[in-house]
């Protein structure tokens, strides 16, 4: 018994000292200053990671618009089909995308000119283009490739992953402190959660992240310099003008008077109505072929900014050939499906260009940054935005702590008055429970949130319940006339079964909350689970050890017990 007791004390001491160190100890060689009150406070605030609601910061939930991505993918495949048909001299009547986002339909429809050769056309196209996400079906002269649900899921996942990488690189470039970026919500929700502690005004970062930054350079269809660029008043007029012509895209263009001759500065009129231009599709160069992008002060003067970009070698070569062949044509610089500017090609350009527009220094820098990080696969939409100021967080901590301490004082008073000596025992177990729970939070690097404090409170409530269960049971056993030693023994053994059942049930429930719950609910589940596990140690093991120790001091013939 004596040896057993020593071993128990050693274990308890180790756990207590270890937990205390985890909470108040520094993560380096301790110094004398660490033992002062100020030092302890300093270390505690470094060790305990507070959640955004307590510390202040921004919490953004974004959704990648996967349907848009799948739509664009299908449309790009239409162009690929047209080019492949041309290259292989296949006779096709038409190739079009049949997309209905709400119905989840992403079809690629190709009609062969000769119905008898429809299978050849299909096989040849499949050989030349990767159409593996689609399943094909033939009826008459028409081949329909339907994107399978499996492929939609896989591609959607891929788009979200890619989006996260790009967001990550943008956050790093702008220098957000301690960001956490993770997938959010159910599978198929295509959501991303970004938490930025300490960030109070996320507006700029939001703009930066949601910037799709899809850059394309494409030839404008219509007249060439020195004639002015061909534009249309309405989208319908533009579409009508190029009806029947393949590979055309109609895009909005906030009109500025583009210089029709070299040396003229473009004039910008902010009130000019939106006009429409027609560009060739596919574009000559896309944003993923950029080598660099930098903001610089515009040559036109007036404090405007522009973005200078240069192309990767392979793209530069292609671009050089193309510009040489299209001198005097207008080239549209398209950003996110809007024509930003449309200068004419003065002479051959190999690897560099400018994006001009009404940029401020900040917006030019941000655009350059997002261009460098690459285009997002699909637009981003913000579903949830939560920002907490640091002072409000501090207020919440204060009221939470005051409430907890008030509750704790009442519990301690009751226990000591009602259970006397055993009550002291319970109070020790309670304090130890709190220390171990917070230490576990520190060790697992889990953030303490407001719901987390609620979980702590429930954990403490159940710790009190465990003590009450045990003590009431010991009293019952004493009343049946058993000796003190066997009453304690029996009381613990019997109550232990109950405690195990109540704890495991609650932990099972908490586990479900953790797996399926939202971020906030998870904080609750984590502290609750840790608190309950700590309780099995403190209320059962530690409390029992103290009883054994008390009894061993009194000897085998102990007849009274303060309970």
């Amino acid at each position: 018994m004596k040896k057993n007791l020593t071993a128990r004390f050693v274990i308890i001491l180790l756990v207590t000292v270890g937990s205390l160190y985890a909470v108040v100890g520094p993560r380096r060689m301790p110094r004398v200053s660490d033992f002062t009150w100020g030092g302890i406070k300093q270390n505690m605030s470094e060790n305990i990671r507070l959640g955004l609601d307590l510390r202040g910061g921004s919490h953004l939930v974004m959704q990648v618009q996967v349907p848009q991505y799948l739509k664009r993918l299908t449309e790009n495949n239409v162009i690929a089909v047209q080019e492949a048909a041309k290259a292989a001299s296949l006779q096709i009547k038409e190739a079009r995308a049949d997309v209905d986002i709400n119905a989840g339909r992403y079809n690629l429809v190709v009609a062969a000119a000769d119905a008898s050769k429809v299978n050849e056309v299909r096989d040849e196209l499949q050989r030349r283009i990767d159409l593996s996400p689609y399943s094909d079906s033939v009826s008459g002269d028409t081949i329909t490739w339907t994107m399978t649900p499996t492929a939609q899921r896989a591609l959607g996942d891929q788009a979200v992953e890619q989006g996260m990488q790009i967001i990550d690189s943008r956050i790093n470039a702008v220098g957000v402190a301690e960001p956490t970026l993770q997938r959010h919500g159910a599978t198929g929700a295509h959501q991303i959660l970004l938490q930025m502690p300490g960030e109070r005004d996320p507006q700029r970062i939001k703009n930066l992240l949601a910037g799709e930054s899809r850059l394309e350079l494409a030839k404008v269809v219509g007249s060439t310099s020195p004639m002015p660029i061909t534009t249309y008043d309405t989208k319908e007029a533009a579409e009508a003008a190029v009806a029947g012509q393949p590979n055309r895209r109609v895009l909005p263009y906030a009109e500025r008077d583009e210089p029709t001759a070299a040396g003229e500065a473009p004039q910008t009129d902010p009130n000019a109505p939106t006009r429409w231009v027609v560009v060739e599709n596919p574009p000559v160069v896309t944003g993923d072929q950029l080598r660099s992008a930098e903001a610089s002060e515009g040559r036109a003067g007036g404090g405007g900014y522009e973005i200078n970009f240069s192309l990767k070698p392979a793209a530069a070569e292609k671009f050089g050939q193309w510009t040489a062949a299209n001198v005097n044509a207008y080239m549209a610089i398209v950003l996110n499906d809007r024509v930003q500017s449309a200068p004419f090609i003065k002479s051959q350009i190999t690897d560099s260009g400018q994006i001009t527009g009404s940029f401020t220094e900040q917006s030019a820098k941000d655009l350059a940054l997002t261009l460098r990080s690459g285009a997002l696969p699909a637009p981003l939409v913000y579903l949830e935005e939560r920002t907490v100021g640091p002072s409000l967080g501090a207020d919440s901590i204060r009221s939470g702590v005051i409430a907890s301490i008030a509750g704790l004082i009442m519990v301690v008073l009751f226990m000591v008055i009602y259970y006397r000596g055993a009550g002291v025992n319970a109070v020790i177990a309670l304090l130890l429970n709190m220390i171990i729970t917070i230490a576990a939070l520190v060790v697992f690097d889990a953030a303490l949130t407001l719901p987390g404090i609620a979980g702590l409170i429930l954990g403490i409530g159940m710790a009190v319940d465990s003590n009450v269960l045990i003590f009431e049971r010991i009293r019952e056993e004493l009343e049946t006339g058993k000796t003190v030693a066997s009453s304690v023994e029996q009381g613990f053994n019997r109550a232990f079964l109950t405690i195990i059942d109540t704890h495991v049930t609650t932990i099972v429930a908490a586990l479900f909350l953790f797996i399926f719950g939202t971020t906030l609910i998870r904080g609750f589940a984590v502290t609750l689970t840790l608190g309950l596990l700590a309780n099995l140690f403190s209320a059962v093991y530690v409390s029992r050890t103290i009883f054994i120790w008390l009894l061993s001091r009194k000897g085998r013939r102990a007849e009274t017990l303060s309970i």
Partner: protein, 357 residues
């Protein structure tokens, strides 16, 4: 040794009919309030859902010089946000401003509409003078996210309950698990009934509190069931009715002490917890009371009833007298005391049953 209760001998189960009836009435009152609010023309919604679940924007604003609620509302209306709600807090300089969802559902899907409310709110507040209003926190939730959060909260609670049911079925019997889970449903519904009746706002922290309440209620129920199981082991020949009454009485002092202490702690939370935790504290406050009461009022009578029903069916061929056990539960239970067949059907745990065979 000072004890609150000693040797209690109360026949709790004798009261089960009036108690169950009263519980049903309370439950119906809450549900009735929810339905009536929804159904009555021009009435409010069943529940006062916060921006977390309905979508919209909640701004916490600190004013140096606080304008009146009407001034805040009209400033917002001037910026195109008509139906704003202004709510004072216990701190005089802090005001909660709730804006409904901006833009239609279609717009919400098409663009980043969560920005709109916050941006318009900030614009409106800026009209109260330079640096007068500081936005301390923003919660902007889109319609899609709100719906997802709501569905997820419900799904998670149900899943957690299934987990509880399975665990209790594994440790005890299906009858015990079913009784415990029905009790938890009752507790959650009664608490929600209060939220509907008084139109307290339901937000994410309230969901956390409801989950806490689920834990607390199950905990309380299990403590009693556990004692029933133990009593069954000690005295196999006694009937479930008496054993359950005894178990309630034996654990009564524990129930009162724990319930009372938790109640006091939650009271501290209501008093000192502040407005951020208000919904949470209120839900727990109701929950602690209901959760403690329901163990005696709902869980144990249901469990006894289920066990007697099952037993009635098993014993019908052999002993017609026990067939009516379900309906005339109380007298039947007593009359049949001491018959071994009763104890067998009632004893939970596979091991004991096989041990008897």
């Amino acid at each position: 040794m000072f004890r609150i209760l000693r040797n209690v001998q109360i026949d709790w189960l004798a009261w089960r009919r009036p108690i169950l009836l009263a519980s049903a009435l309370i439950l119906l009152a809450g549900l009735g309030s929810a339905v009536a609010r929804q159904a009555s023309p021009g009435g409010t919604d069943s529940f006062n859902l916060g921006v977390d679940f309905k979508g919209g924007t909640l701004l916490t604003v600190r004013f140096k010089q606080r304008p009146s609620d009407d001034q805040i509302r009209s400033a917002l209306a001037a910026k195109g946000v008509p139906d704003s709600q202004v709510q004072s807090t216990e701190k005089p300089d802090i005001v909660l401003v709730k804006l409904p969802r901006q833009g239609s559902e279609q717009e919400a899907l098409a663009e980043a509409q969560v920005d709109i409310g916050a941006a318009r709110g900030a614009e409106a507040l800026a009209t109260f003078g330079e640096g007068n209003a500081t936005i301390e926190s923003t919660d902007a939730v889109g319609a899609v996210a709100g719906r997802a959060l709501r569905n997820q909260a419900i799904a998670v609670t149900l899943l957690a309950l299934v987990g509880v049911l399975l665990y209790i079925a594994f440790r005890f019997e299906w009858t015990y698990g079913a009784a415990a889970v029905i009790t938890v449903f009752h507790d959650v519904l009664v608490t929600l009934g209060f939220f509907s009746l008084f139109q307290w706002e339901i937000n994410l922290t309230v969901i956390a509190a409801l989950l806490t309440l689920v834990g607390f209620s199950v905990n309380d129920t299990i403590v009693t069931f556990d004692r029933v199981r133990e009593n069954l082991r000690l005295r196999r020949r006694a009937n479930i009715y008496d054993l359950t009454n005894e178990a309630i009485n034996q654990t009564l002092s524990r129930t009162i002490i724990t319930g009372g202490l938790v109640f006091l702690s939650v009271l501290a939370l209501v008093v000192f917890g502040g407005d951020v935790l208000r919904g949470f504290s209120l839900a727990l406050f109701i929950g602690v009371i209901v959760g403690t009461y329901s163990t005696i009022a709902i869980a144990t009578p249901l469990m006894v009833w289920f066990v007697q029903r099952l037993e009635g069916r098993e014993g019908r061929a052999a002993r017609p007298a026990a067939a009516a056990a379900g309906s005339g539960a109380q007298t039947q239970g007593r009359a049949a005391a001491g018959r071994p067949a009763r104890a067998r059907a009632a004893s939970p745990g596979r091991s004991q049953r096989t041990a008897r065979q």
